[in-house]
């Protein structure tokens, strides 16, 4: 009997342990297995997946394109890009920290241990640490901190000191504090509930770090307001910076030109693809959103 059509048409996707027919690949389509998918607080969940070894090449700031299960009776038609939260090469696992918000992330929230989860990646250009930087300042808000968290791992491996300023609505939803601290970063929490997250206060904190010589480079994600602040201070003190950006995305490979953001380069406005030219960009060139 002829075989029935295969339901999900993913027989070219790699599971952990599969032999790779195209080993020179930079990017894979993988079927990961859910190890855990636990709530961190009321809004955020932490997903851990067993993956094929090729997926472990992901570094800080890079993304995976996730084929999310449906949270309801409707299909989720396109993938959702998400930056990697942690890569555990020994365990063969990649991790994501996500806010349960739209249909894609609500779908991810339904995953249970043992479930298959299709992910393509790693995609894009992540964070780069330059020679000569001894101390960096990381400033993020909300789920942007999940994107910035693996920077602390990268910096720790290079012996670079990290000060992470974590901004949130209230102390209960401050993300990734333990992960930053566990890797030796100094953390400063600022929140809306006591007014400490006000731009003027964050500016004072960063100015103090600059004065201490603790700010060789800036990194940010997740807030246009904080991006503008770091751009201003970076320009004033001639401190380089990188920003991770997001945009509605389709292909993930640079082919479809959906995920465009505006940048200003030498006085000219240009469009760049978040999926392939980014998601991490030169902070001073970003126009914001």
């Amino acid at each position: 009997m002829p075989s029935e059509p295969k339901g999900k048409y993913t027989n070219s996707a790699l599971r952990a342990g599969d032999q790779d027919p195209y080993p020179q690949r930079l990017v894979g389509e993988f079927i990961g297995t859910v190890v855990s998918n636990r709530s961190v607080n009321d809004e955020y969940k932490h997903l851990i997946l067993d993956v094929h070894e090729h997926a472990l090449n992901a570094y800080a700031g890079q993304m995976f394109h996730l084929l999310c299960p449906s949270p309801d009776d409707e299909e989720v038609w396109m993938r959702r890009p998400m930056s990697v939260y942690r890569v555990d090469r020994q365990a063969g696992q990649v991790e994501f920290l996500y806010k349960v918000e739209g249909r894609g992330t609500r779908g991810i929230a339904t995953l249970a241990p043992g479930d298959d989860f299709n992910l393509a990646g790693p995609l894009g250009v992540g964070f780069k640490l330059q020679q000569g930087w001894n101390n960096i300042v990381v400033l993020g808000r909300g789920v942007g901190l999940a994107t910035l968290a693996p920077l602390s791992q990268l910096a720790a491996e290079r012996g670079i000191g990290v000060t992470a300023i974590l901004s949130a609505r209230n102390p209960a939803v401050v993300m990734s504090k333990e992960l930053f601290e566990g890797l030796g970063a100094r953390t400063i929490t600022v929140v809306d509930s006591d007014g400490s997250s006000a731009i003027e206060n964050v500016e004072k904190i960063i100015e103090a770090l600059i004065a201490e010589g603790k700010a060789d480079a800036f990194f940010t994600c997740g807030s246009n307001r904080l991006l503008k602040l770091m751009q201003r201070l970076g320009k004033k003190h001639n401190i380089p910076g990188q920003v991770a950006m997001e945009q509605i995305m389709v292909c993930g490979f640079g082919a479809c030109y959906v995920c465009m953001r505006t940048f200003e380069v030498d006085g000219q406005r240009v469009l760049r693809r978040v999926c392939r030219d980014g998601p991490v960009f030169n902070m001073q060139e970003a126009v914001g959103w």
Binding site: P5, Y9, V27, Q247, F253, Y257, M260
Partner: protein, 315 residues
């Protein structure tokens, strides 16, 4: 071992599975081996460098997405100098899609693209968000004929013509393209669509209208391929909703010689490879030695006409 190759005029494709223009670039070599594809189809190029349309350029809808990109690119000179060489690193034939707002410029571009590493010129005369008198010539029989005649006069390269599903009578437009010298018809581009957000009452796309890309389109485009195949002698590439090997088979039975895949590659970046492998397996399981035998092999001549007899048949 099944022979998956198909001929489209003088061009041989090693299998009938190609990417659809706009859903592909050489950058997919990061994830799949491009040398396994039937052809390589570059994103539509225009004469001038273009930024494209305002964002958002894509919105999800029931059954797929609508998108309006606006043909961004670095222009013809950059394309020939820098992008054609990227594709030339791979073995499958290179199909270059081209668009313009005037017939004269379409013809001039055909001449300029007639360089050794370009194997096929695909006239994208059906960009759904272009005006029907300004580049979306496939909306009209007369404009289609004039545009393809003008291009034919300027190039000896195989000339494929991408038709519009938005035209009223695609069959007569297909015939006009054939008469004007097309070597192959690509059926079809995307359906002009609109989505309005109910939260802020605004169109979901920055450009307002977009093209619908969806597996749900397959029966409609398949019908068009079938109708056109009945009246033209030149080969057809079917594009619309191909997500699996059986869809390729369906298009071939309807009369297509090859297919283009867009949506499925967005969902699964390795989809084209999966489809090629599954197509070979499908043929092997049925003892089909050459996939080309499927072209136009739909059994539509001996259909039961008596409803009483038909209804008494086993199901």
């Amino acid at each position: 071992m099944v022979d998956l190759s198909v001929k489209i005029g003088d061009i041989t494709l090693q299998n009938p599975v190609t990417p659809a223009s706009g859903a592909f670039s050489w950058e997919y070599n990061d994830v799949i081996d491009l040398n396994r594809l039937g052809g390589l189809v570059a994103k539509t190029i225009c004469r001038e460098p273009r930024l494209g349309n305002p964002t958002p350029r894509m919105a999800e809808t029931e059954g797929g997405i609508i998108q309006s990109i606006g043909l961004p690119g670095k222009g013809i000179e950059y394309f020939v100098a820098h992008i054609v060489p990227e594709y030339a690193k791979f073995k499958p034939p290179l199909i270059v899609s081209v668009s313009s707002e005037s017939i004269e410029d379409f013809a001039a571009l055909a001449a300029e693209l007639s360089v050794p590493d370009v194997d096929v010129i695909e006239a994208n005369i059906s960009c759904p968000t272009r005006n029907s008198t300004g580049g979306n010539f496939a909306m009209h029989e007369g404009y289609t004929r004039d545009c393809i005649q003008a291009m034919r006069a300027k190039t000896k390269k195989p000339l494929w013509v991408k038709l519009s599903p938005n035209a009223g009578d695609i069959v007569s437009i297909a015939k006009a393209a054939e008469d004007a010298g097309a070597d192959c018809l690509v059926i079809a581009n995307t359906f002009l669509s609109l989505k309005i957000r109910t939260d802020n009452f605004r169109p979901a796309l920055g450009n307002k209208f977009g093209g619908l890309v969806s597996p749900a389109l397959k029966p409609i485009i398949l019908r068009m391929v079938y109708q056109v195949a009945k009246v033209v002698k030149i080969p057809i590439v079917g594009i619309g909703g191909v997500t699996k090997a059986e869809d390729v088979v369906e298009y071939m039975l309807a009369g297509a010689s090859a297919v283009g895949v867009g949506y499925a590659g967005f969902r699964n970046p390795t989809a084209l490879i999966t489809i090629i492998e599954d197509l070979a397996a499908w043929c092997n399981e049925r003892g089909i030695k050459k996939v080309a035998e499927l072209i136009g092999a739909v059994r539509d001549q001996d259909m039961e006409k008596d409803p009483l007899v038909a209804a008494s048949a086993g199901v």
